[in-house]
């Protein structure tokens, strides 16, 4: 392209949008400001830099989990929430539940970590709640959920009322402590040890918090997102296949 040709070219601008594409229902939904994003997803095909010819390289999408539900809830969810409110007020911990999420018919109570033992005891013993059975604790590590990176998720089952609920408690990476509920649910003994083993979450008050699956002298906590999967490349007929965590990933 010569100099004078460049001068006559019009200003670069985006392609003309058709009317239907510009209409509000075809534009990306704006994020509800009350729903916090727990991270962003960049691009589409796991390639970055000049190797990305897909055109999706600049895409930035927030990672958003289901938003907070508002009272009154539907069906037995409201019964449980109301009974829990009454029980919490009686136990002197009115503000123990930070928020409630209802997604796909499953109800999740986000509980302040300091109040967890009281909440667990009330959930087990209150006649209107009666969650006799705890199905253990499952850790989840959200490295981008700043200030609440480590989540501990408890599934509770009430055999009396045939209901299931979920409790979610968070702790920051800098202070990975969550009170133990083994005193209320002895079954959580090994489950809390496993979550400690895998995530480094320290369950305060656990009778003997040691590793349960990994060897005692194992460095690190394998299920954390910053812990690599490991693996070696596999060679086959002259080709080399990288380990799973180094292959192209579709994020």
């Amino acid at each position: 392209m010569s100099e004078d040709q460049k001068d006559v070219l019009p200003e670069p601008k985006g392609p003309e949008q058709r009317a239907e594409d510009a209409s509000p229902e075809n534009s990306p939904a704006t994020l509800d400001p009350t729903v916090p994003a727990v991270g962003v997803r960049r691009g589409m095909f796991g390639v970055s830099g000049t190797g990305d010819t897909s055109g999706y390289g600049g895409l930035v999408q927030p990672v958003v989990f289901p938003g907070v539900a508002t009272r009154p809830f539907e069906g037995w969810h409201e019964d449980v929430a109301a009974a829990l409110d009454t029980a919490l007020a009686g136990g002197g911990v009115e503000h123990a539940v930070e928020s409630v999420v209802i997604h796909r018919g499953e109800i999740t109570f986000h509980v302040r970590r300091d109040d967890l033992p009281v909440v667990a005891r009330l959930l087990r013993d209150d006649p209107a709640l009666r969650f006799e059975m705890c199905l253990g604790v499952s850790g989840v590590h959200y490295p981008d959920d700043v200030g609440r990176e480590l989540h501990a998720v408890y599934h509770l089952l009430s055999m009396t009322h045939n209901r299931r609920i979920r409790l979610e408690v968070t702790a920051p990476d800098a202070d990975p402590r969550i009170p133990s509920i083994v005193a209320t649910y002895p079954t959580n003994d090994w489950h809390e040890r496993e979550t400690y083993d895998m995530f480094g979450l320290v369950f305060e008050g656990h009778p003997a918090l040691t590793r349960v699956l990994m060897p005692d002298d194992w460095p690190g906590h394998p299920q954390r997102k910053d812990y690599p999967l490991g693996g070696i490349p596999v060679e086959y007929k002259g080709g080399s296949i990288p380990p799973p965590d180094q292959r192209r990933s579709y994020n």
Binding site: V64, F65, M133, V140, T187, Q223, L229
Partner: protein, 446 residues
Amino acid sequence: MSTTEDLYAGASDTTEGRVFTVTGQDWDQISEGLADDGHERVVVNMGPQHPSTHGVLRLILELEGETVTEARCGIGYLHTGIEKNMEFRSWVQGVTFCTRMDYLSPFHNELTYCLGVERLLDIEDDVPEKARVMRVLLSELNRISSHLVAIATGGMEIGALTVMTIGFRERELVLDLFELITGLRMNHAFIRPGGVAQDLPPGALDEIRGFIALMKKRLPEYAALCNANPIFKARLEGVGHLDLEGCLALGLTGPVLRSTGYPWDLRKTQPYSGYEEYEFDVQTWDTADSYGRFRIRLNEMWESLRIVEQAANRLASLEGAPVMVADKKVAWPSQLAIGSDGMGNSLDHIRHIMGESMEALIHHFKLVTEGFRVPAGQAYVPVESPRGELGAHVVSDGGTRPFRAHFRDPSFTNLQATSVMSEGGMVADVIVAIASIDPVMGGVDR
């Protein structure tokens, strides 16, 4: 005491006291050695390699004479990082991993994971009827094969070798059915998000009916061999006692919970995959001991046969019906078929994507390599596995891979009852108590 003849079997003095390594037939060496010390307290490390601890389970037993004063489990010898690995594969590939956890009930592992993924995808109601019936059929066949192993290995551990041989004989029949239907005897990866991998092969229903007829003849053999056998009863009755309060506190489910007389079975109380459409009874016993658990397993096999029979009848009227959701953004694009070089993608599909439709090829490629996206959120849909409540806590961040998949395995939880079941009893009863829990170490350690 000699420490020189066998490098690996002998005694040595440590700061913890004298340590013996026993390899069998050498108990007299230990009793002689202990007589020198003049006390009877022994700490026995049983396992992790021991024929009667159900895989690589390590038991640490503190004994006074032959009485167990403390019992602890050491686990983790079979930890293979399945949950971590699943975070690096697509949602469909996850099935291939979780089927390997509790290797005696692979279909239940697959089912709870797929039910969770389907709930997150919000396609629970779209899974076709035939897929749901096939899932029930396979789950119940699997319950039979798993209970057969529980009874067989439990019998072997107390010296009832015939129970072991006939138990594995019948299990082989179930595995043959699995091989016919899924192509594999174990680790099937057959139940997929959205349905099952493949339709029933021709002739499968006849084979299943033949199996049912044969099992109706063979199952009474177990009852005849064991139910009233005085030696069997003497070893099992009153051993491994755990009452309802203990079960709830320790989170025990499955046959152990039902042996206390409490009829808690998720297939009845919280039906999934259409279990409410089948006629069967929840089996309970009221002795809360190992014998009750054995009888429950035996009776549950009869109930499973009833369900298999009903499922087979329903499948007979569902010939040609779809086994995957209609949503082409989730359903695996191809079906498998037998070709000249063995099992592979069906030739019709290959012709379609290679010769007829570029879009179909792109679609196949995208679904197989990239996979589908699952909306962000978490789900927990438990199933009644042969050992109790098995649930997958599935977390998605909206991507093409599980953000986290955690399995609440009943073996892991139930094994915590080892100490309460066996402390205060005889060392030989520890084996019986653990056999009545029926732990599968692949599920415990994952």
